[in-house]
Symmetry: C2
Subunit: 208 residues, 2 copies
DNA sequence: TAGATTGTTAATCGATTAACAATC
DNA sequence: TAGATTGTTAATCGATTAACAATC
């Protein structure tokens, strides 16, 4: 029983499919074909059918995919059928904006811990969360058994904090700091850097 | 004279090379081999050499790449040898955090305009920028000849604002709203959605 | 039934990797 | 010179697309 491996790039597309399907459900649709879904997502019907087929046959010939049950299937595949708790390190503008971001609780993500080094910030609240000193990072992450960390610290501290997160049991890191982290292969990392994305665009906007 | 097309994915990697090279320059290094650079970036030497070779031969056999001149070359390739002005729409937590973000001016990105619909916000300042009413979006973008827009509005308004940006002459959009935008092929878009990135991770973290 | 659309296979396309002659 | 490392070509690998039988 050799389980076929699903390419990373396929996994990365599933949340987008899910997002679009949720929107369509909200619009009152019940069924969608791969062609219509593809158009809304700016991709191709063949790709959507191929991607979904890694996990099973969710559609019906002639009519397409039932939106509700496909949403449920994708949520289960992505392990979204539960609440994930997250620890944020860095309570500057960005860390605070993330902690307040409504899109997280709405989609099953709960920011449970928020850390900073600045004694002026420690003890103050961001929404319902009290900022704790970063010295307690390991203890608190272990105590709450948190698996996902968000790095919102300056570049020069990012690697150190990431190392500490990993030692504390973190298995996934969302990195907002403008540096490439060196991490064990067992840890899953995602990098968000608006500057890198803008610089990519600037290449194409050059002909002015 | 058929100019070879450089794959998008190569372009997307160049800013990361540049970021790493800048860090190395700061550390006092003068020269770096593709192998060392690859290790720092978590990629392979062959890929770095191949990527750079699309644009010319920047290295020297035996010693590697001179860091300074490679930085300069990459900056020129990516059109970073000038200041890019940007308009941000949406002055909520996120829009304000982006407007204050130090990483932008440091790397040649100047947030010039900031818009919102909320009359309580219009007229107030975020750093040196005064929030303007979104009604003036077209007029101001045209007046300053701005080519890059950042979307930091709720999902339901994102497509409409994007359409207005495009009509006003915007050619690149950095989209923080959790929706897939439908845009003309001439417009370059980048999507930042932390929820989608976290959901991708959750697939791999599932075995708990 | 006839039309539509899936799931899947095979063909194509493109990107990554390996290997090595050239050369600093 | 000998060792190191580039730039490039060819081989490999993987992902996308096209096509179509199956079937709702």
């Amino acid at each position: 029983m050799t389980k076929e491996v699903v390419p990373d790039i396929v996994i990365a597309r599933l949340p987008r499919y899910l997002q679009c399907l949720n929107l369509m459900a909200k619009e009152g649709l019940h069924t969608v074909s791969s062609g219509v879904l593809a158009e809304r997502l700016g991709t191709t019907a063949a790709q959507i059918r191929k991607d979904l087929s890694y996990f099973g046959g969710f559609g019906k010939q002639g009519s397409g995919y039932p939106i509700y049950s496909l949403i449920e299937a994708l949520q289960e595949i992505l392990n979204l059928d539960r609440i994930w708790q997250v620890a944020v390190v860095g309570a500057g503008d960005l860390g605070r904006a993330l902690t307040r971001y409504q899109g997280f609780p709405r989609r099953g993500i709960e920011i449970k811990l928020l850390f900073d080094v600045d004694p002026k910030l420690v003890g103050t609240k961001v929404g319902p969360i009290t900022i704790q000193h970063v010295d307690y990072l390991e203890k608190e992450i272990r105590h709450h058994d948190i698996k996902i960390g968000v790095l919102a610290v300056p570049a020069e501290y990012a690697q150190k904090i990431a190392d500490r997160m990993v030692k504390a049991g973190i298995e996934g890191i969302l990195n907002y700091a403008p540096v490439s982290l060196i991490l064990p292969e067992t840890v899953h990392a995602q990098h968000i850097d608006p500057v890198l994305q803008l610089q990519t665009m600037m290449y194409y906007l050059g002909e002015d």
